[in-house]
Structures are given as C-alpha cells and as structure tokens.
C-alpha cells in the first residue's frame, strides 16, 4: 500500500539536487562486471585451448571456496579448472606429452601446442590424390593431424618394427575417423621409405573420403564457438584413437599373483614423505574420538588408500571397545551382511528378519533401550559399488544417526558426495577430514572385478576351459560354434548376438543336435554356468551372446584347437 502525500516543489528540488551527489555504486560495479565478462567471453572465443567458464567461477566464488583465507596447502583451485567441458583432443597428444616429459628430466615443460613447421612441410608426394586433398585443407589438418616425433622415433628404433607396424595397421577399424587414417598413412609412408616396406592396404580407402570431408571442413570453419565445440566433442560417435591392442603387444598378461609380487618388490616412491603425511594424520586420532563422541561422524577423503590409516586408528584407539570393520571394497558386501553382523555378533540376536528395514528398526530399538551399548563402525570405501545405492546409503545413514553408533568412513570416488542428499547428509552429520596419503590402493583394487581387462582375461579363460572340459563333446562343439560366430562379428558394434533359429540351423548342419529341444536343454546348462547370456531383441527374437571379451574368446579357441 502506498500513500499519497503532499510534497512541496521545493522539497522535490532539494531531493533531486541531493540525490545527484550520491553515487549509484551498485549499478556501476554491475557494469564493470558485465564489461569484464564480455572481455572474458571474447578471450574464450578467440582461444580454443583455454576455455574458462566464468559463470562457474562466479558461483564458486559465491560459495566462498575461492576466497579461502588459506587452504592448508596454499593452493586453491577454482571450480572452473576442475569441472570443465570436454574439448576436442588431438589423437597423439598423450605421446607428445610423454616424450616431452621424458626428454626433460627434472624440470617441467609447458607443452608447446604450436605446430612445428617441419611437420607441415612433410606433405607427401607419393600420392597425387592426397596432395590435392591436403592442399585444400592445409589449415584444417593442423588441427587434427599431428605426427609425433616420439612415436616415429620409437618405431624406427624398435627392433621388430615390422611386427609392430603390422600390429598397428593390419587391424581393421570401422570407427576410425578419416583424419586418423590419414595420419596413419602418413606415418606409414615414412616408415615405408625408411624400411622400404611394401605398400599398405589402407591406402585404398582414401578415394572414398574427399566429398564427405569437404563438407565437414566447411562445417568446422564455422565452429569457432565454444558451445558448438562442446557439441562437436560430444556428438561424434567416432573416436580418434589408434587400433593397437594389448594382445599384439609382445607382453604376456600378468596374473594377479605375479602382479602382486612385482609391485611388492618394487620400492614405493616417496616413502618417507608418505610416512610423514601419515604421522600428521595420526595426531588427529584423539580428536576424532572426541568428535565421534560428541555426535559427529567422520569421513575421510583425498588421494591415496586410507585403509592403513583407519587400521592404525582401529588398533590404537578401539582396542577396548566393540567395533565393526566393513570392507566396502569387498565385491560381495551388502548392507544386509553389515546389519547381520550387528544383530548376530554385536547384539547376539538369533533369528531372521523380513527385510533390512525391519532389521534396522530392531537395531535402533535395541540401541535406544540400552544406553550402555556402544558400537564403532569403520567402513573402508563407503562409496564402493555395492554400498553406493540409495537404499544402502539410507540405511547406513540412519544407523549412523544413532547417538551410540560412531561411524568413521573413507571415500575415494570423485563423485562420492553425490550419493548423499540433504536428508542423508544431515543424518550422517559428517565432519570431513582430508587425508591425502598417496599410498597405493592395494587392498581396494585387489579384487578381480575392480581391475581392468588385463587380469579379467586370465580368470575368465581358466573358468571357461574348466567348465567346458566337463561337458560332452557335442556341447563343446555347440559352444565353439557360437564363439566362432561371435568372433566373426566382433567388428560389428551393434552385433546383437546369434538368434536362436539361426543357431539351431547351424547346429543341425554340423550334426550337433537333432531337435531344438536338445539344443534348448544344452543352452540351459550353459546359462546355468553363466557361459552364455540371452536377450530378446526388439523383434522378440531370442539372441545368444557369450559375455566374455573377444581376446579371451580368441585365446580360448586357440587353446581348444590345440587340445583337439
């Protein structure tokens, strides 16, 4: 509601006169910010490499992260650096960087992204088609094609260059982008001139490309914009990586055991410094205990395994009290097993529960009734695959909210804090502690499924052969058929599997089964041993797949062939 009031002219005048004296500060600063933003934007547009997102920075500044008076280590990083968009990458930057790092031991080199002139001068003369092609797109090529002196050097120096070059080029790749191919060709040509090798089949592909590439080039000229760059980076399903595989590398796969032994024997780098870091954290133990007792729970984060630190905490502080240690990284851990060990071993309760929620209710009731009960819970990797689900976290959060349950946990995953919404976070009532230890994650990565393909192969292979040994000859034949078919289609990324009807037809032709019933019985057996997987396609047809990666399958077939 506003009121109307008589104001003499005189007063209006004085008001106007007075007002002009006062600076409208706020507007001015706003203007300044706008101007700055504009300038920044211009920079961002002109500079492809450094894309700083100012908006994010503003937000971070508002949160007060940037204005930290002094972070413990004196280096504060803005969100803009950590959470950037994807930017298009040149394919060989990694090798480039590696050679840079290798060439200049001890000191750092800012990567020099400018094209070296000699590289552009290396326009090939052997193929007139390609000359013409590159002539039209000389500038564009700079973006994508970059031969690496390092790789070249290595290739030339390699004792069995022939074998290596074969490994690189003979493998067919449907996904590869033309530029990549071109580069490969270029490299190949150089290799061939040196080693006087034969011409490569890859060249034959070249004629089909020009028209499509030209349009692409036009498109790319327009894409100077940051936004479009983002979509460019995200839209293409093609990948700019080389086709080399570990298999073709002469190295054998390391088994879990040898890996362990090798690492055991190699000395840990910077052991003294890591020890110092740990000692720093160990001095916090009694503070942690105090804060646990005052109703907070503690979560540890930072690079490096926190297993040893927590173990030390356990042995030095918790010897006299009941405590539960949960190895979250253990592949078959569940909330239920955690709750079970509480009810069965801590509360000595015999009996089962209908659901984890009932069990939780029982535990909460017991703890509320008996105030002398106390329980320390240590969870290594609260953010592990098995525990990161919404329901598990909810249950654990409720458990930790009990005043006589003291939780101390560690997290490692970069997105771990996303597990918790406001409600869970307030149940957990965390106090965060940064404990960057740099210790290797020995325990956490020791389970087979947490490792990359290098190891998973050996185990899967041995289990495959084991199971198949116990089957009849016909059954093995059936499996081999399926495996062969799958390998034939390994380059088809949208390979759905072998349809049941086709499979039956093939089996019949090979005299392996006589009716589809016998085949079905056999398939059930495979399925029980998890040798195959079935899934229904869009058309309702049943497709069969072997859920093992191709290299393992190849190994398996080779081995089978040896046996036969």
């Amino acid at each position: 509601a506003f009121e109307v009031r008589f104001v003499p002219d005189e007063e209006v005048l004085t008001h106007i006169a007075d007002d002009s004296g006062i600076k409208v500060r706020k507007d001015k600063t706003l203007l300044a910010i706008n101007a700055k933003r504009f300038v920044k934007k211009l920079e961002a547009i002109s500079d492809d490499e450094a894309q700083e997102v100012l908006e994010e920075k503003n937000y971070v500044a508002a949160l007060g992260i940037c204005t930290k008076d002094s972070m413990r280590n004196g280096s504060s990083v803005g969100g803009g650096e950590v959470y950037t968009f994807q930017s298009p990458k040149r394919s060989n930057k990694m090798a480039e960087l590696a050679s840079e790092l290798a060439q200049t031991p001890g000191q750092s080199v800012a990567p020099d992204h400018s094209e070296c002139p000699e590289r552009t001068a290396k326009t090939p003369q052997s193929s007139s088609k390609l000359v013409m092609l590159w002539g039209t797109e000389a500038d564009k090529r700079n973006e994508f094609v970059s031969t690496t002196p390092y790789r070249l050097r290595k290739r030339l120096a390699a004792p069995d260059a022939k074998l290596e070059s074969e490994s690189e080029y003979s493998a067919s790749c449907s996904e590869e982008e033309e530029e990549e191919e071109e580069e490969v060709e270029e490299a190949q040509r150089e290799v061939s001139t040196v080693l006087s090798c034969q011409k490569t089949p890859a060249k034959t592909k070249a004629p089909s490309t020009p028209s499509s590439r030209k349009t692409q080039a036009k498109k790319k000229d327009k894409m100077s914009n940051l936004v479009e760059e983002y979509f460019e980076a995200h839209s293409s399903s093609k990948v700019l990586t080389s086709d080399r595989t570990l298999q073709k590398l002469r190295k054998k796969r390391l088994s879990q055991q040898t890996l362990h032994d090798l690492l055991e024997n190699s000395p840990l780098a910077y052991a003294a410094e890591i020890k110092e870091l740990n000692q720093q954290y160990e001095s916090l133990f009694s503070k942690w205990m105090l804060q646990l007792h005052l109703g907070f729970n503690i979560v540890l984060y930072g690079l490096g395994s926190k297993h040893d630190l927590l173990e030390k905490f356990r042995t030095s502080m918790l010897q006299d009290s009941v405590h539960l240690v949960v190895n979250g990284y253990f592949p078959s851990i569940t909330v239920k097993s955690i709750l079970n060990s509480i009810t069965e071993e801590v509360l000595d309760h015999i009996g089962t529960f209908r659901s984890p929620l009932d069990q939780l209710e029982f535990i909460m009731k017991r703890f509320k009734e008996d105030s002398s009960l106390e329980l320390y819970v240590l969870i290594h990797n609260l953010d592990s695959q098995m525990l990161r689900g919404e329901r598990s976290q909810q249950i654990l959060a409720q458990l930790s909210s009990l005043p006589s349950v003291y939780l101390i946990a560690s997290i490692d995953h970069i997105n771990a804090p996303l597990m918790w919404d406001q409600a869970k976070q307030s149940l957990y009532n965390w106090l965060w502690y940064e404990t960057t230890t740099f210790s290797p994650y020995v325990e956490e990565t020791s389970y087979e499924n947490s490792l990359l393909v290098q190891q998973s192969g050996s185990l899967a292979l041995s289990s495959l052969t084991h199971v198949l040994r116990s089957l009849t000859l016909n059954a093995r034949g059936i499996f081999r058929l399926l495996a062969k078919y799958q390998l034939e289609n390994k380059d088809n990324p949208s390979y759905p599997g072998l349809s049941f009807q086709d499979f039956y037809q093939q089996c019949r032709e090979a005299f392996l089964v006589n009716s589809d019933l016998t085949l079905r019985a056999q398939l059930t057996e495979f399925r029980d041993h998890k040798l195959i997987r079935t899934k229904r396609g869009a058309d309702g047809v049943e497709y069969l797949l072997i859920p093992v990666d191709d290299s393992t399958l190849t190994d398996f077939l080779e081995k089978e062939d040896e046996d036969v």
Binding site: T241, I414, W432
Partner: protein, 709 residues
C-alpha cells in the same frame, strides 16, 4: 578361506569396562593438559545451554502454527461428533479434512517439526497419530500396514497393560484393510465410552471420538498411485472413521493438484498452513544466540560468514547451522588453552586468579595482549611481563572491559540497524547479521557503505526519524548496559525538540500552503530555472531548523557508532572469546573432495615436500608418483583411451627417469615392473572414477571427466 567383508571385534569382557570417557580424548589431544577437564566441562555446559535455548526458540516459533493446526482439527470433525444427519452435512462429510502444511525446502529440519507436532497433538487432541514416510510406503499395502501398526501400537502405549493381550496380535498378521481399521476404531472408542473412572485422565485430554490423524511427512515423494488409492478408499469410510490428513509439503501447495487428479483432490477439503520461513528462523536464532551477551563464546566475522554461506547456498537448514555452531564451540575449547576463561564474567575472574604460570605465559603470548603491553608505560610493561599477580589483576580488568564492550556493542548495533534497515537500497544490508559482519570486519565508519548510508539518513523525513528514535530508546532502555542513561536522555531530548518543531511548523504551514497555491503548474523550463536558482542559493541558504536537528541526530548516531562499534579484534584479549579459524570450519563442514584430488594429482608437491617434485606452473615433473603421471597423460586424450598407447607413453616417461642404466639392464624384467606399475595406476584411476572399462573398442577405456585440462 571364507571371504567376508564385515568383521566384528569384541574386546574381552574384562577389558570392556575400561572404556574411556569422552573427556579423556579431550585431554589426550592437548599438549597442555592442565585444566582440560574444566575446559571440557565448560564446553559441554555451554553447548547444553545453547541447545536448550535454540530448542526453546523453535518451540516458540512453532507455537502459532501448531495452535492453528489444533484448531483446524477441532473444527474439522465437529459434525462427526455431533452425529448430525443432515443431508448437506453428509455430503460434505464425504470430503476428508486435510491440512496442507507448507514447510519450505529445508527438508532436514522437518523431522524435528513433525516430532514436536505429533507431541503437541498427542497431548491436546488425539492419541491416534500415524507418521508416514514415502520410503516406507512403496505400495498401498505397505502404507496400510504401517498405518495400522502405528495406530494400534500407540493405542497400547496410551492405555494400561490390561488390553495388551487382546491387542497383542502383531499388526503384520492382521489383514490390513480399512474395514479392520474401522472395527478397531469402534472397539477403541466404545471402550473409552464405557471406561472406568480411573481412566478419566485420558478422556479429559482428548475428546469423545478423537480423530485419527495421518501425517504424510514428505508428500512430494509419495507415488501418485498410493496417495490416490488411499484418498479414494478412505473417503468411502469417512463417516465411520474421523480421519484427518496432514500433508507435509516442501515446495508449493500446487503440488497437491499436480500429484492428484481432480477427481481425487475433490475428495479433500484442504486448508493451507504456512510454517515459519527458515530465514526468519535463522534470524531469530542469530538474534537470540549470537547477538547477546548471554553466551560467552562469540564468532568472528569470517566464521559467521562461512556458517551463513552454508545455510544460504547449500541447505537452508537451521539444524545444520546449529550443528556448525556446536563445532565452533568444540573447536574453540579444544584448540585454545585460554578458552578456560571463556565463561561468565564472575566465573572467569575466579579462574583468572587461579591460573598457572604456564597459562600466564599463554596470555602474554596473545597478539592482542602484546599490543596492549606495548602501549603501556615501560615500568608497567616490565610488571606485566614478569609479575604473574599483576598480570592477573590486569587480565581481570581487561576481561571486565571486554564484557562492558559487549554489553554496549549489541544495543548500539541494534540501534544502528534500526536506521540502516529503513534506508533505500540497504547499503549496509537488510539483516542485522550483515550489519554485524560489517562491524566485525573492520571499522565500519571507514567504509563506503557507511558513508552512503549516513548520507541517506540525512534525507530521512521527520516521521520516520521520530519512530526510529523511539525504537532506539526502547532498545537502549531494555538493555543492561550502564552507560546508556545519558544516551537515552539525549535521544529523548531530540524527540522533544521534534515535538516543538512540529508545533512551530503547524503555525507556519498555513502560510506556506497558501503561498504554494499560487504557482500551480511547473513546466520543464521553469523547473530547470528554479533548480538552477536553488543551486545558487543553496550555498548561502540557511538550513531550516528541522534540517539542523536532523544533522545533529545523524552526527550523534555516528558518534555512538564510532564509540561503541569498534571491531572486536581491536580489543585486548578478544582471542579468548572469539572463535576465528574459519578455515577449519569450512574444511570440516563444506569440504571439496574433488579439489583435493585434483591438487594431489596435478601438484603432488603440495603434499609430498621433496625438491624432486617441485615445479612451477601447471605441469608436473616426470618424477611424480605413477598415478600422477598416468593421470597427466590421460588428460591429453579424448573420450576413449587406448591402453597400449597409454602404457607406452607411461613407460617412456618412467624409463627416462630411471636413466640409461636401467635400459641396459635386462629389459624384459624392467618392462614387467613398469607394466605392473601401470596396471596399478590405471586401476587406481578407475577406483577414483576417472575412467571405466569400455566395450566400444578392444583395449580401450572410457574417460569420465573433462576437468583439469
């Protein structure tokens, strides 16, 4: 061996008794352990007081809302109780009375509100209350089960044990349907109808047929189907069962209509209730807890800023704010040996006299005390630095000063806030907390904002000025400070002067208004002319009496501010009562784990202090830990990373470090070790969530982040 992920460790029963007290941990972490017990006790008692106070505040704030709700419940089923049979009534009673309780986005605070709400209802209206949460009710069956379970249990709780046998059947085994609920309700109310005189207590508290209240704590998260079914079913039985629903809503009341179709929502007779906004709640808490002399511990500007930022930018949760304050208390008492003096003045004085020599040294080491000593005459300096008894005396005096400072600070701050909060554009902030922060940060009268707000204050009109002065007088009179008598007098004098002015004005007014009548229209030309004239004349023109008085008042307020609102860190011994390590607070409450990872991976030197790792700029040296090198290399890749290329790049870097000597050695062995190291580093990156295995191409991994480029 049997693999398992959980291990329970139980100490032997003998040992278990030796479990330690909390205070021992407090003592253990402190280097100077003396009087840590007393410190801990002080800390605990302070926290208890704060907790009690905040709970009381919340109760008071919620009172209005709860009263309204209780009224609503009483009204809602008056027809049911009167058993009217009128047709209109029956038509109406098809609708379920529903209270939509808009609670705001601070979900974490809701639990407490609901708990106290159900308590209030239990005491005043009905014993039959069911609190439902969306996560317990994925289907209508679960909902009914939960509902019946809670209702029947509460019935048992209220009544004595004699009924327990007949009600002992666990709710799981009863067929959970509306019919069983109704029959239960009937049996219960019949019992209370014919109850023995011994149970009158119950019936006097509740009414004849108390309503059954069902509270949906988080209405938004319920599935539409469940809610719909429940509403439809229960509306069929509303004339047999006096049901009342309460929806807890975090967003806006519109959600009811978007969740429920019209046919269902028309079965509800909704009344809206608005709870207090969390911002107001916070303001009250700050006002009553932080801006008083009641609690000895004070927060410095930065700490307060951190807490408020977490509130405003993260959760709007008052509970979390209070928890943050708790952490401040704990941290302060834990880390500061002199915090033992952080208590009420009388007690503090007593404690000063019994300080140990060590503590005296601690006092001498305080920066603010050193400044104080330097400002003293030389013989006094010597006395302060050598004689403990003299030091103690001085400290007592200084503590008293500090106390007086606080007693004056807060009322004057409030007075200043009265002025600044009514200025256009709020140059010093709308809320008193902003003003408080500004005053704590540095000398407020030196800031630009203060300057401009004074200028604005010089343009206030008379009625505003009068009301402000009156408010200030009220504030100052009600505050305990001893020095305010004079100020109050002065302010009152201003007020009387205003009154005199008014009388004088009224006489003149008549003449002025007649004069104004003459110049009716002002066009642009004339306006400009008069403006110019005015500008000329302004310099020479005498100020009116009112203006003179206004200037006087503003100048007086200014002098008050300069006198009393000195920043706390200019005061001697402020370290004892002010908690000011904001970084600790932020580190523990609002941590940034990803930034820590980023720093560790990009710049390992910041953690591992060896010269080998030292580097300038953004890049790392090639002697960095394996994971850093692998990370750095992977930053150069696009969406997919070829493991072979990666391995090769890695081994190039590592080999270069190890030098030609290693090359000469049996290359096969070295290769294996490097391979193993690479595998470890890569699987560590996978654990950290930077990459994941990909099926798109053989021996490739997919990159999951784009940061750190």
């Amino acid at each position: 061996a049997i693999l398992q992920g959980c291990f329970v460790f139980k100490p032997s029963p003998k040992k278990r008794k030796a479990s330690r007290e909390t205070v021992e941990y407090f003592r253990e972490g402190n280097s100077d352990a003396e009087d840590s017990e007393l410190r801990f006790a002080t800390c605990q008692s302070l926290w208890k007081q704060v907790k009690l106070e905040t709970e009381q505040i919340e109760e008071e704030l919620n009172k209005q809302l709860f009263d309204n709700l209780v009224n609503f419940l009483m009204r809602s089923h008056s027809e049911f109780q009167e058993k009217t049979t009128e047709w209109t009534c029956r038509m109406k009673s098809r609708e379920i009375p529903t209270a939509a309780l808009v609670l705001g986005v601070n979900v974490t605070d809701h639990d407490l509100t609901f708990r106290s709400l159900s308590e209030v209802l239990q005491n005043n209206v009905t014993p039959y209350i069911a609190l439902l949460q969306a996560k317990d009710c994925p289907g209508i069956k679960h909902l009914m089960q939960k509902l019946l379970g809670q209702l029947m249990n509460c019935y048992i709780d209220v009544d004595s044990s004699e009924e327990e046998e007949c009600e002992q059947i666990s709710p799981n085994r009863i067929r959970c349907s509306m019919a069983s609920l109704i029959s239960w309700y009937e049996s219960v109310t019949k019992k209370t109808d014919s109850e023995t005189p011994g149970k009158k207590r119950n019936s006097s508290r509740h009414w004849q047929s108390p309503p059954v209240v069902v509270i949906f704590k988080d209405m938004e998260s319920f599935t539409t189907k469940v809610l719909q079914d429940f509403v439809v079913i229960s509306s069929q039985h509303i004339h047999e069962l006096p049901l009342v629903l309460i929806f807890g809503i975090a967003t806006s009341p519109m959600i009811i209509h978007s969740l429920l179709p019209h046919s269902v929502s028309s079965l509800l007779c909704i009344e809206l209730f608005q709870s207090l906004s969390c911002k107001d709640h916070l303001s009250t808490i700050i006002d009553k807890v932080l801006l008083t002399t009641q609690f000895p511990l004070k927060l410095s500007e930065k700490v307060l800023q951190v807490l408020i930022n977490i509130f405003l930018y993260h959760d709007f949760s008052v509970q979390n704010f209070i928890k943050g304050f708790q952490l401040c208390i704990v941290e302060h008492f834990y880390s500061h040996p002199l915090s033992i003096l952080c208590c009420q003045l009388e007690e503090a004085k007593k404690r000063v006299s019994s300080l140990s020599q060590n503590q005296c040294e601690n006092i001498r080491r305080l920066p603010s005390f050193r400044r104080y000593v330097e400002s003293q005459a030389s013989e006094k300096q010597i006395a302060l630095l050598t004689a403990d008894s003299f030091l103690k005396e001085t400290v007592q005096k200084l503590l008293e000063d500090l106390n007086v400072y606080h007693e004056n600070y807060f009322p004057v701050l409030r007075c200043l806030h009265v002025f600044t909060s009514s200025l256009p554009k709020y140059p010093l902030g709308k809320q008193i907390r902003e003003l408080h922060c500004a005053c704590l940060e540095n000398r407020v009268w030196e800031t630009e904002e203060y300057e401009s707000s004074l200028q604005l204050a010089r343009m206030l009109n008379k009625s505003d000025l009068v009301t402000m002065l009156q408010k200030c007088v009220e504030i100052l009179v009600s505050s305990p400070g001893k020095e305010f008598d004079k100020i109050v007098e002065k302010l009152k004098e201003f007020l009387t002067q205003f009154q005199k002015l008014e009388e004088a004005c009224q006489e003149r007014d008549e003449s002025v208004s007649s004069q104004k009548e003459l110049q009716k229209k002002t066009d642009l030309y004339h306006l400009q002319k008069t403006l110019l004239e005015l500008k000329e004349s302004r310099r020479s023109k005498k100020l009116t009496k009112f203006e003179v008085l206004r200037f006087e008042i503003v100048d007086y307020i200014d002098s008050l501010v300069r006198n009393y609102l000195v920043p706390a860190d200019h005061k001697t011994l402020h370290e004892i009562v002010y908690f000011n390590t904001a970084s600790v607070l932020r580190e523990h409450l609002n941590a940034a784990p990803r930034i820590a990872l980023h720093t560790a991976l990009n710049n390992p030197y910041s953690y591992l202090k060896t010269e080998a790792l030292r580097s300038d700029g953004g890049s790392i040296s090639n002697k960095a830990p394996d994971i850093c090198i692998v990370y750095k290399l992977h930053l150069e890749c696009g969406r997919l990373i070829n493991l072979v290329d990666w391995l090769e790049a890695f081994s190039t870097v590592v080999m270069a470090v190890e030098g030609p000597a290693a090359d000469a050695a049996s290359s096969d062995q070295v290769d294996d070790v490097i391979h193993a190291r690479f595998i470890r580093a890569v699987s560590e990156l996978e654990l950290l969530g930077f990459i994941k295995p990909s099926k798109q191409k053989t021996d490739h991994v997919a990159r999951l982040t784009w940061g750190g480029c």
